[in-house]
């Protein structure tokens, strides 16, 4: 591992190269549409997309939609995670329940959740809650399976040791089961947050009056490719920022784990 790492250039160089890829992408896009090899009607132009995005931020229109999508994402994530932890614990500690429900859990998890979006819209209306519900169905299963695994995989020796040290069943939950399960939840944090967002955007896309998904859908409805790409750009920036935040949180919460010390802060 070390010898491979040594052959790589330093971090600033890598960042520059990464920036180069981005610029090259926009440059090629610009040249292709400017020379009309690709039709600007179908592909937009990078200049127009950037100008539209800038205008949206400058006028402040986009903040409202961003806020809605963020709220839906956060709600879906929190509700899905709490429910996933609760059910994960319950199933892991009650073998009969887990055996009986096993095929149904698998069946529901195998179902593509997008088909539920219209149902949720019917039940919960076109406001934020139908999107939150869609996100919850996605987040729940990831967290559920991870918590289930986390509780199941607690080392029996660590458990016996804690019991010998006088841990009550409440102590075992707080000091052994929960940290073990949470470490699994945190390691799936990226996926869970990503799915919460997919739920929100797909839900908005299929029927709503606000949010990033709604804006993209609106633009598509009037063949406004620049609007579509601008929406995608905002969404991408948004996702990258959230992902970076998750990485920071993950580093803080899982600092006891071996693989996270490679940074050498200790």
């Amino acid at each position: 591992m070390r010898s491979h790492a040594k052959r790589l250039p330093s971090r600033p160089v890598i960042l520059l190269l990464q920036l180069g890829v981005l610029i090259a992408f926009f440059l090629i896009w610009h040249v292709l549409t400017d020379t009309k090899i690709l039709s600007p009607f179908f592909f937009g132009t990078p200049g127009a997309v950037l100008a539209r995005t800038w205008a949206d931020f400058a006028s402040g229109v986009i903040w409202y939609h961003l806020g809605i999508t963020l709220l839906e994402t956060a709600l879906a994530f929190v509700i899905g995670t709490v429910a996933g932890i609760a059910f994960g614990f319950w199933f892991a500690r009650a073998p009969l329940v887990s055996v009986v429900f096993d095929p149904y859990i698998k069946a529901v998890n195998a179902l593509p959740r997008v088909v539920l979006a219209p149902i949720f819209a019917l039940w919960l209306g076109l406001g934020i809650w139908s999107k939150v519900a869609l996100g919850v169905t996605l987040v729940f299963f990831i967290v559920f399976f991870n918590v289930y695994q986390g509780v199941k995989e607690v080392s029996p020796v660590v458990l016996a040791n804690a019991r010998m040290l006088g841990a009550s069943s409440r102590d075992l939950f707080r000091h052994v089961y929960l940290p073990s399960a949470l470490s699994w939840v945190f390691s799936s944090l990226h996926t869970a947050v990503g799915f919460a967002m997919v739920g929100a955007v797909v839900g908005e896309y299929l029927g709503s009056a606000a949010g990033l998904g709604y804006r993209i859908h609106q633009a598509e409805g009037v063949f406004d490719t620049v609007g579509v790409f601008s929406g995608m750009l905002v969404l991408t920036i948004f996702v990258v920022l959230i992902d970076a935040a998750v990485t920071v949180i993950e580093k803080r919460l899982l600092h006891w784990r071996p693989q996270d010390t490679s940074g050498g802060q200790h």
């Binding site: 660590v158 804690a162 009550s168 600092h255």
Partner: protein, 274 residues
């Protein structure tokens, strides 16, 4: 032994038999320990040696209350062991530290479980870390410590709750020889300071003789029985490395090994059969 009979012994196993259902589920059960009876006096250091697979850990788990024997019973200071034995501390062979807690919090855990506030438990854990030579390592997590350091944390973790009897299941078997001898001496020093009872399980006869007041020999499994008992009247304090060179030690080693060797060979044949 006369004074030990007056006060209740720290540990007393009476005809303990442990039978497990066979892992392949074909209905044939496996007897790990057969009719084991022995006592450990208050303040006594007793080692149990036996070949691999002779049910040493099983007996310790019965003493700890982690395992209910199929027959017989265990008493600790006169009290039958039902559920976790509150007077016992247990040092496991495998890694038993909570990986998500720092060394200090691992040592403090036992106090926290007993209702001591987190701040106070940490304060009281500090001197214990220094006693096992880990001053300044309190904020490290288990994976950042060496194997020997983790064992020291485990030792402090076990001792901080002041158990009256310490059960040790090959605690140093994973360590290299030098670290191991250092740990053995440290354990003897700590033990000499306040003479708790110790049941020390090992497959290493030299380790057993060097540390104990008494050595018990287990036969090869399945259905291990206690087949020998040897008093080790070597002077204390001892240095585990130096004592191995003394003639008394060699004589004892020869005597016990004569009995143990056959069992080791039997145990080895068993593992080859399986």
């Amino acid at each position: 032994m006369a004074e030990a009979a007056a006060a209740a012994p720290a540990l007393q196993l009476e005809g303990v038999t442990c039978t497990f259902p066979s892992p392949d589920g074909r209905g044939r059960s496996y007897t790990a320990v057969q009719g084991a009876s022995f006592t450990v006096a208050d303040g006594e250091f007793v080692s149990i040696v036996g070949p691999t697979g002779s049910g040493k850990s099983t007996m310790l788990n019965v003493a700890a209350g982690l395992l209910k024997p199929s027959e017989g019973r265990a008493l600790s200071f006169g009290q039958p062991v039902t559920g976790i034995n509150p007077k016992a501390g247990y040092m496991f062979q495998a890694e038993a530290l909570m990986p998500w807690k720092s060394a200090l919090d691992n040592v403090a855990a036992g106090l926290e479980f007993r209702g001591v506030s987190k701040a106070e438990a940490r304060e009281r854990a500090m001197p214990w870390l220094s006693r096992v030579g880990l001053e300044g390592f309190g904020d490290r997590f288990p994976h950042q410590l060496s194997g020997g350091m983790r064992k020291r944390v485990a030792l402090a973790q076990t001792l901080i709750v002041d158990p009256k009897i310490i059960l040790m299941d090959e605690p140093f078997s994973a360590l290299d020889v030098q670290t191991r001898q250092m740990m053995e001496n440290e354990l003897l020093d700590l033990w000499a300071a306040d003479r708790k009872s110790v049941v020390f399980i090992t497959h290493d006869l030299e380790e057993a003789i060097a540390m104990s007041d008494r050595v018990l020999v287990l036969s090869a499994g399945p259905g291990s029985r206690l087949i020998g008992e040897y008093r080790i009247d070597l002077d204390r304090p001892r240095d585990v490395a130096e004592i191995r060179m003394t003639p008394q030690f060699l004589a004892l080693h020869q005597e016990i090994w004569a009995q143990l060797r056959d069992e080791v060979l039997k145990g080895y044949a068993q593992t080859k059969l399986r």
